[in-house]
Amino acid sequence: MTLTFRNVHVTYPGSDRLALRGVSAEIAAGQRVALVGRNGSGKSTLMLVANGILRPQQGELLLDGRSVRYDRRSLAELRRQVGVVFQNPDDQLFSASVYQDISLGPLNLGLSQAEARARVLQAAELCGLGELLERPTHALSGGEKVRVALAGVLAMSPRFLFADELINGLDPWMRRQVLHILERLSASGCAVILATHDWGLAREWADYAIWMDAGRVFRQGKPQTVLSGPECPD
């Protein structure tokens, strides 16, 4: 299974500045991709495109080689396969309890209550949230919120997981725990695309790197080659 960006140009609604100007990249199942680049270089925009929230003005997005049409059915299919965890977990959790929040995605996919319940428990177990299921979302710590936001997406069993700065601001223990979750995910065949400013992590963890600059892909390929050279910040 692959997700392909082909010459994607995109502007945000109500603005005519191109946020992405001709991005091409292909991501395959089970890959671990580090997405790096300055703030404003287009990393977050790329995630919105991957999930079908932004529609390219030019170029196209392909899921398994088939061009994504932006009707209801194919958007639903795209969102079943491609999950996004956004930067601020507080903007993604809206339910009163952890259990309920994680159940939103599976129910949106039209699963039965029993199936949804099984998905919730599975995702919660993967993210180490077994103890917290009954907790109100507003009483969670920052690290817990991150994991709940992650579980909410994983409960939809995506084949591609985009995570925006997921580990920023986490303490080293929590960071290791989250990385461990991502590890298990990619072992199960899910592609993980992590936007990060941590170049050390990107080199060490990823097996593919995409360096974005000013709405374009500056370089992509093996992390050792892409993330080295005089242009590197470190």
Binding site: A76, F86, D90, F94, A96, N108
Partner: protein, 234 residues
């Protein structure tokens, strides 16, 4: 606020179906108002305190302190009833001497209202301290309240805490810059905080929309129901 909410989530009855607790509380409120007798009011106050401490297992210190604070409010409140005023008018229709004082009747009436309201406060406290607000919304939903309203209320509940955090942060940031040093500054700081809060609330609603779309949102905020305990086998 957080204290009441956190007790509601962590007392011995928090997993009990909200219908029992709401039933108890509303019954007590109704009795208090309908019978409207000081002895009944006192009995209900005692009973609701006993239920809150004995049944739900809340610390009696906290429960008494809360009721005490409300009693204090009420006391200043019924002072207005206890103090009696008689207006008199002279021949020309202007306001003559005003008679002011306490009468046995007015004091009795004040005491009467005080006890009734205290009973009401104890009954309401029982509900607020034992039942998570989200469970009450679930209860309303099962009573066929319109889903749209319940969803809006659920979001309100969820974001009261997030915005409250922001309020505290902003207030602190103003205070360290002497923003509340005098009346002018205070007003300006208050306006600044109010404005920022508004902008933040709006930004959050947008971000939430994006996050919901990414989770294949279909237009309603359906989540799995919570599983409650029951008093009797069903």
């Amino acid at each position: 606020m957080r204290q009441i909410d956190s007790y509601a989530h962590s007392n011995k009855l928090s997993r009990l179906h909200p219908a029992y607790k709401a039933g108890c509380s509303l019954l007590a409120l109704t009795l208090c108002l309908a019978l409207d007798h000081p002895t009944v009011s006192l009995l209900i106050t005692a009973l609701m305190l006993a239920l809150t401490v004995g049944w739900a297992g809340l610390p009696w210190r906290f429960v008494l302190r809360l009721l005490g604070a409300e009693g204090g409010f009420l006391l200043t409140g019924v002072l207005g009833i206890a103090i009696s005023v008689r207006l008199s008018f002279d021949q020309a229709g202007g306001l003559g001497p005003v008679q002011i004082g306490v009468t046995a009747e007015s004091v009795q009436q004040a005491l009467h209202v005080f006890l009734r309201a205290l009973g009401g406060a104890a009954a309401l406290n029982f509900l607020a301290l034992t039942t998570p607000a989200a469970d009450l919304l679930e209860l309303l939903r099962s009573l066929r309240a319109p889903a749209t309203l319940i969803e809006i209320m659920g979001l309100t509940y969820r974001f009261i805490f997030a915005l409250f955090d922001s309020l505290e942060r902003m207030t602190m940031a103003q205070e360290v810059r002497l923003g509340f040093a005098d009346w002018r500054n205070s007003l300006r700081s208050a306006a600044l905080i109010g404005t920022n809060l508004f902008v933040e609330a709006f930004r959050r609603s947008r971000a939430l929309e994006t996050a919901l779309q990414a989770r294949a949102w279909t237009g309603s905020l359906r989540v799995l129901p919570r599983e409650y305990e029951h008093l009797f086998r069903r």
